[in-house]
Symmetry: C3
């Protein structure tokens, strides 16, 4: 079924792109001529040069960041990085269309005009679906992931339109639009697809030494490039600069509190790689909404400080609680890394927006960034939540149909189900360094 889905959907993409999508003016060969007539010769006018480096940083986060973060399982590294690759490559195309229909459709010509900003926004949209993938990692088939992405991108585009264009909320780095939506979308799907016998795959539900090091590649590229993520579509100039600084500081603070809580919680003060790989990133999530606000450097540090604590406690307390009592199996702990810090970020944004004054922002800056109030920010958060949970419930039900070829309960977290993995590579040693019992 996977080949059919890939083929048919890619053909559909080609047809839809043929009908609807054209280069935007900055990418069109006619533009140079227009510029010449208007007597503008400088390259500076072209947005491309300001956006492209940030775009590439975000792109690295999507494919290497998310991809390698999900290689931490001892025998699901192929699936983590490989399916991430598949659904991101599909999601990007679909996002260009869906977001284009809402944002870049020219009512006269009927075309969607795409340029560098559309590419960045498509990466953002896909990020929401990859977050949801984190909750489902190892438990669903690639076809289910494709379906999840198809609906996820669609829901995202609608939700984004409501939040940014109707409510005029600010969410440059997507604490609400991306993280709250993505996390609750994934968690709700996981809740609908609850597997009571997942413990049968317990032997594979963990990391080995080198898979944890691979996951650190993902963590670090996410951590380093997060300032680009939160500033990529900010207004040029001081707003973008400020977003980068705020995110940078917030991330730095959450590293220290993550190490602190991780060490505090364990017997003999030992650190846990799961916390270091994930909770250190919470500061970036929580700065998504308020990234370009004048919250001052210490404000950013406070946000990161709190997030590191909240997120690490989530891994210690909430994930086991949710699995046991709420029947939500959250493989990567996205509730701790995306849902809670995302809500925190939304709240910070709403409060900051509500208390913003002309004294802090210049009149001009205010016009650029503040045609909204704190209440709209709060409303935006609710919209993201509703779309996440509602959409997740719907898509979860669709994914429960027994036609998608998902793995058995005792085959979860195992690459052998979907990938060619030479069996002879398994060690016969009962305490094998790969941690895998021989069949």
């Amino acid at each position: 079924i996977l080949p059919a889905v890939c083929f048919v959907w890619q053909v559909a993409m080609i047809i839809l792109f043929g009908v609807f999508v054209r280069y935007d003016k900055e990418a069109d060969a006619h533009w140079s001529e227009t510029k010449k007539e208007e007597n503008i010769t400088s390259n500076v006018e072209n947005d491309f040069y300001y956006r492209y480096p940030s775009f590439q940083d975000v792109h690295v986060m999507i494919f290497v960041g998310f991809g390698f973060l999900m290689t931490f399982l001892k025998r699901y590294s192929f699936g983590g990085v490989g399916f991430n690759f598949l659904i991101a490559a599909f999601g990007l195309q679909w996002a260009l269309l869906m977001q284009g229909w809402f944002h870049s459709l020219d009512p006269v010509t009927g075309y969607i005009y795409i340029g560098i900003e559309n590419l960045i926004n498509a990466d953002f949209c896909v990020a929401g679906c990859l977050i949801a993938f984190g909750a489902l990692l190892g438990k669903v088939s690639p076809v289910q992931l494709m379906v999840m992405t198809l609906f996820g991108v669609t829901l995202y585009a609608v939700e984004e339109y409501i939040i940014l264009n109707l409510l005029h909320a600010i969410d440059a780095g997507g604490s609400m639009v991306i993280h709250i939506f993505g996390a609750y979308y994934g968690l709700t799907i996981s809740w609908v697809l609850y597997r009571p016998n997942l413990h049968q795959s317990k032997r594979l539900h963990g990391s080995v030494y080198h898979s944890d090091v691979f996951a650190m590649i993902g963590t670090l590229f996410l951590w380093m490039y997060w300032p680009s993520f939160n500033s990529a579509i900010c207004y040029h100039g001081d707003g973008q600069h400020r977003a980068a600084i705020n995110t940078y500081l917030s991330l730095a603070a959450s590293v220290l509190t993550t190490f602190a809580i991780s060490s505090l919680s364990a017997k003999r003060g030992k650190l846990d790689m799961v916390h270091i790989q994930n909770a250190t990133l919470a500061g970036g999530v929580a700065m998504g909404t308020a990234a370009e606000f004048m919250i001052q450097p210490y404000g950013a540090l406070i946000v990161g400080f709190c997030c590191g604590i909240v997120s690490t406690f989530g891994y210690l307390v909430l994930t086991p609680f949710m699995e046991k009592c709420l029947k939500i199996q959250d493989t990567c702990g996205i509730h701790n890394l995306h849902a809670m810090p995302g809500v925190l970020g939304g709240v910070v944004g709403a409060i900051t927006a509500a208390t913003a004054s002309n004294a802090v922002y210049s009149p001009e800056g205010l016009i650029n960034t503040f045609d909204f109030q704190g209440a709209y920010q709060a409303a935006a958060m609710c919209v993201a939540l509703i779309f996440g949970i509602g959409g997740g419930a719907l898509v979860g039900l669709i994914l429960r149909f027994p036609i998608w070829g998902d793995a058995e309960d005792d085959n979860c977290f195992d690459d052998e189900v979907y990938w060619e993995v030479s069996g002879a590579e398994f060690c016969c040693c009962p305490r094998c360094p790969l941690g895998v019992t021989v069949r």
Copy 2:
């Protein structure tokens, strides 16, 4: 012999650079003064700021992209990433000289003036040789690789001069200049160096779990940064922007068709890591020539769609066929990833160029990009082929001299021949996770 080659050639580089190479005006301290006199004060005039981020992306592709893509063998990861490092570092210097003689030599002063564009072009030139390395991986000594690179860079510089300066063909991302040349150069060398008893190294001719994950690092950095590769030396403005969009879309489409064919071909629909690591990149190769053309987004998707199919079928059918019937041993399958998509890219470029009209391109754009015809593009493809096959035959004969210290047939794909690898690290378990029989 390796130390002698490295030393002597590096000394030769120093002497040749001393005689011939100087900074170009944008990198020369006198330039600021000239600008001052001309009353130009803006940094915008300096190409450096527009080219440098793309240059670094390409640089990452050369060293991390190609390097890690070639770590997939279970016991040749050191050689893959290490020899890639060696020949790229040598090739860059030699390419600055050889390309400089053809493109940047000032006939008055007799100097080659180098700047950021020369660095990008040197990376492109080296890419051709690293592609050839892919066919030879594990079967030749580092000295042979150095010789291969010496001749490869020289041939490339001549071929590039003929194609770009004499035929005035367009090939911004090098489908022909880089990929066709590099692939046929490597394949012909591999054909001349055919090892009938290579099966004696069969135990090492494959991957283990973690070496496949390492290779994915290479795949993803190549995949993500390919839009920078194909747009790095385009005209500023809309051309560069368009090249990035086209490449991005083509790559996305080839991911889906690669997954489709890989799953379709295997028993029980299992995916093969070799396909995912390689064929997903074919869309970038094929967009090399037509990158900046107005082929529209759906055109780029179609190219990627076809390439993913062709390339994956290559791995399934052609590579075994070529090894058995044509006596060409192609370790990394460069025929599937570079040769076929390169030819496809050249054909697409020729057709698009032949059918280009003033209606699509503005008059000004036409002057910039179209002082040629489809026929010249086709001729350029032939030149690349001839240089690849002819040069490869010549260099292959040179490399057959029994003086280069290449490995025995039963020692191929083994790092122990050229690297210190502690023997005690081999497992005694008969089904060792590293897949290596103990000696």
Copy 3:
């Protein structure tokens, strides 16, 4: 004790940032308005767009470059990349404050104004401490590393102020300020903390196959982005362009001589991964001071040529000698990679500066880059040495107090002391591929 240190210091950071740190004008919302009044509308005036890509490259070097370079030990990869993460995230915040007090403090308002240049300089400052970490890797506790970083950043800020602001020396890439200081700081601490019984951890003091491949990730990202490091805070325009070219060429040359010496020195010409991982980078260290000088391309090649030789010989001869005779245990060989090439770089800078003439530099260029003489450069080198050795002795004594929870002599280089590592993952095979004897 680690949780307490992390918490208290992070709280202190928040308070100090609250009292002292504000956005600089380019990151402040009021700036747009000011610009409007001054009738400047172009983004070009904003430094952010020229510095940000270089900043991100440097950032990758700090976290992925240094972090993964230190994963080479078979059972200290978590500590290498994890503690690097911790002390860099702390060091950045502290560096913004310390460097800010010296460089960006506004005497009128009493505020430190931070922008993109401060972030780059903070990365530079942290690099000095991470170099010192290289000498101590595996032998000290995370709390000791935090203390080492606290003092290291402080000393660095003072030393940098003396060298750059009082002596007016040039050191764009920090051969002296970063590398000489960092290396001697670390070596002196290591000397004070000498462990006579370190041989008890000998079983863990080495690499395994895949940990060497992980380390190559660090090597390559350092190598590729070093041109950005040395040019990140150069004057815009030709100086920055030249610094990138010089560093690039120097690095390329040191790759070839490293391979030459590594192969020459071993029995049967085998290459050693330790040399390839480290000595190939020496060319970048040595171009730190003279990066933007008009030393011409061949001059850069000569510097890299010499550094590769010196650094590789260091690994072969000096590191064993220093451990045996001078009681300095240098885990990563920072003496070979940072100290010696740093001194070489300082000497090259002093000589070039002393012999610089108006004929080579334009008058204007001279004003920008040469309000100093060779003697000041030499003095700067001495200052860096004195701060490194003096500061290292002081901090070493502090770190000898038996309150810091460092590992026993037979537990060094072992992640199990500070990290949760599932014991069942150790192989029972006596020649385990992970090279670890079962407990």
